[in-house]
């Protein structure tokens, strides 16, 4: 009556290469989305703060829209709609596998909204006098932003940007909805195939925990060093 | 009333209090002074157990503060304390600030607590402010409320931890006046303060501390007329220039 579950971890060793491939996919998505998210997020933040009304409205609309909808939904729609669009607009052959591409695009566009809010706060944390001082030295807006304001802003933001990167890495597991074999998808597939879902899901949870915990401890350490420096 | 016997305290290797010994008798007013970092605030917080100490003994009305078996909450409920930054509870109206501990700690009824609260607000001249919130009062008014709040518990003695040092100069006197009146009524008081005028007028004894030690413990007259230690003389000389 009170039998407990008997664990069998034997399917893990053989599956390691496949799981590793999945991890590579997860890291790939994270990396591209972080880089693109920061670049596009910076552009959005500058637009949002600019005095050109249509630009700031566009940025505000973009950021608020993406921040109001669930990531799963965005990923699903990119998975369902982008291939359609590309096929009909650009004449891609039907059935091209664009899952990875559309997943990355979905992540990048979505996360850019979150990055832009972090970056906007960072830019606003730089005292206004800095921009004035740069202008007084004869720099134009672009030079002042690029040489004076942004470097200081990014220095303040690094820990937040890194933390957002960790969140993004966790979020990559959501590409499960597009049947893409990222680390989580790979673990799920192996568990499903071998009838060992319990072990594989626990294993996946443990791996995510170790990676994210270590990374967040590192960020905290880094933050302390930055504060004392 | 308060007996401090050989009390020492350290954070790691840093000695905050070193072998402090003194007594406060019933009805006595003691002023504790000294340069910043001399341990005077720490000493007064040891008296009601807000700061733990490693060595020595403190008793208040015969109850040992350091004894782990002592019910500290009960002891604190009749030792009034007034803080440098007033520490009124910002989310409660003034009258609620005076009532809350009467209700929840002493178990008084609402009517009794309210009556007591209003009586004490009258006494510090702030009855009209009863329904306001701490953030709407000036610093001096807040500190007077804080004194009334402590008195509402019918304390057997009062501890003052630099009660005027966070105040704008023009508000210092309204607080000192309340304290002076309290002293005249015979309240036992231990005051950490730099207000030497107050000490001259009201104190029975003055304690001077430096680097965690009680350097002088003298009657008021003896302290002001011929402080023995060089540090105390320097301190008195500096205070004059403020």
């Amino acid at each position: 009556m009170y039998e407990l579950y008997e664990f069998d971890w034997s399917s893990i060793p053989g599956a390691l290469p496949f799981l590793w491939q999945g991890m590579v996919v997860s890291l790939e998505i994270t990396f591209v989305a972080v880089v693109f998210g920061i670049v596009w997020g910076t552009a959005l933040a500058i637009m949002r703060l600019s005095s050109v009304t249509p630009l700031s409205w566009f940025a505000a609309g973009y950021v608020n829209l993406f921040r109001s909808v669930p990531l799963v939904m965005v990923l699903l729609w990119f998975f369902l709609i982008i291939p359609h669009l590309l096929e009909s607009l650009l004449g891609f052959p039907r059935g091209t596998d664009m899952r990875l591409g559309s997943a990355i695009a979905g992540f990048a566009l979505f996360e850019a909204a979150y990055y832009s809010e972090i970056i906007r706060a960072g830019i606003q944390s730089v005292p206004k006098g800095q921009m004035a001082a740069a202008n007084a030295l004869g720099m134009n807006y672009r030079q002042a932003m690029q040489r004076v304001v942004l470097p200081q802003a990014f220095r303040n933001m690094v820990p937040l940007l890194l933390t957002q990167g960790i969140i993004l890495f966790q979020d990559t597991s959501l590409v499960y909805v597009s049947a893409l074999a990222d680390f989580f998808g790979a673990a799920y597939k192996v568990g499903d195939r071998d009838g060992r879902l319990v072990e594989m899901l626990l294993f996946a949870g443990a791996v995510y925990f170790v990676i994210c915990f270590a990374a967040s401890q590192w960020v905290r350490h880094f933050q302390k060093k930055l504060k004392t420096a | 009333m308060i007996s401090i016997d050989n009390v020492s305290k350290h954070y790691g290797s840093f000695q905050v209090l070193a072998d402090c010994t003194t007594q406060v008798s019933k009805g006595e007013v003691i002023v504790v002074c000294g340069p910043s970092g001399s341990g005077k605030s720490t000493l007064i917080k040891c008296v009601n157990g807000l700061e733990p100490f490693q060595k020595g003994e403190i008793t208040v009305n015969g109850v040992s503060v350091g004894d782990p078996k002592t019910n500290l909450s009960k002891l604190r409920s009749h030792v009034g304390m007034v803080f440098q930054n007033f520490e009124l509870f910002p989310h409660m109206s003034i009258i609620d600030n005076l009532r809350i501990a009467q209700l929840k700690v002493l178990g008084r009824g609402m009517d009794e607590a309210t009556e007591k609260g209003f009586k004490l607000l009258d006494r510090v001249g702030l009855r009209v402010q009863a329904e306001k919130y701490p953030g709407q009062l000036s610093g001096g008014q807040q500190q007077r409320v804080a004194i009334a709040r402590a008195l509402a518990m019918d304390p057997i003695c009062m501890l003052f931890d630099e009660p005027t040092s966070a105040l704008d100069p023009e508000m210092v006197n309204e607080v000192l006046d309340v304290m002076t009146e309290l002293a005249k009524e015979g309240m036992t008081m231990m005051c950490v303060t730099h207000e030497m005028g107050f000490a001259r007028r009201v104190a029975n004894r003055v304690i001077f501390m430096d680097q965690g030690r009680i350097v002088e413990d003298d009657s008021k007259d003896a302290f002001f007329e011929h402080a023995r230690s060089e540090r105390a003389q320097q301190f008195l000389a500096k205070i004059l220039h403020h």
Binding site: Y2, L4, P70, V198, Y208, S216 | L50, R76, Q136
Partner: protein, 245 residues
């Protein structure tokens, strides 16, 4: 590119009969609201307890609370959901596990989703509670203790009422997040808003209408949450008290 817009699709009877597609959307909307609100209650209650424990002087208790927060923060929500839904029933004693598996599937999905979302969010709520308590002036705790309050009374009457007021704005964003995160529960078959949106695509071949409708529904939720939290903020504002410092 020849897409045929057809907003009338929402009023058509659904493929399974008995309801319109609009009715489907509305069902999903209600499910999202019910799930998110119940998970939010769980998150607030658990998060408040854990957040308070993180600040107590007892090293053992604060350590346990910290471990709780780290555990729930460092595992992806989707993985947590699968652990609650697929793994936990297997690990229960057989009889209990079987009884659970034989219960109503919707109840299983809802319960797993609610517990998962609630505890996931509770770790974030706990962090806000902790930072709220830590941002109070340190003298407040001493003032409470000096009046004869016990430590629990000091939390109850002095520190928590102020800390809760300070964290209303950051809690707003956690409250918004729980609605968005609830979409993850579509992966275990719970027919909430995002899942119904997807179903609509499969059944009607009108993906854009369905996409826009679901997005609008989430926007409405956002606006309502923001206004209601602003109302709460106004209600709990302390007269004469500016900022947290």
């Amino acid at each position: 590119m020849g897409y045929n817009w057809n907003w009338g699709v929402f009023l058509q009877p659904s493929a399974t009969g008995g309801d319109t597609y609009l009715g489907w959307m509305f069902y999903g909307f209600k499910m999202t609201i019910a799930l998110s609100l119940s998970a939010w209650m769980l998150a607030l209650a658990t998060g408040a307890v854990v957040g308070v424990l993180r600040t107590v002087p007892n090293k053992g208790l604060s350590g346990i609370a910290r471990a709780y927060v780290e555990l729930f923060r460092n595992i992806p929500l989707l993985v947590q959901l699968f652990l609650w839904y697929f793994v936990l029933p297997e690990l229960l004693p057989t009889s209990l596990g079987n009884a659970y598996k034989q219960s109503n599937p919707l109840a299983q999905q809802f319960l797993a989703s609610m517990v998962c979302l609630g505890l996931f969010t509770s770790a974030r709520v706990a962090e806000q509670v902790r930072s709220g308590i830590n941002s109070l002036p340190p003298g407040q705790k001493n003032a409470g203790l000096a009046m004869g309050f016990t430590l629990p009374q000091t939390y109850r009457f002095v520190m928590l009422p102020m800390a809760v007021r300070l964290i209303v704005p950051p809690l707003t964003s956690e409250f918004l997040n729980i609605f968005k995160n609830s979409a993850v529960c579509s992966t275990i078959g719970l027919l909430e808003l995002a899942a119904q949106g997807r179903q609509l695509v499969d059944y009607t071949a009108q993906p854009y209408e369905s996409f826009i409708a679901v997005t609008l529904a989430y926007l409405i939720i956002n606006v309502v949450v923001m206004f209601s939290m602003r109302w709460v903020e106004e209600r709990v504002r302390v007269p004469g008290y500016l900022g947290g410092k």
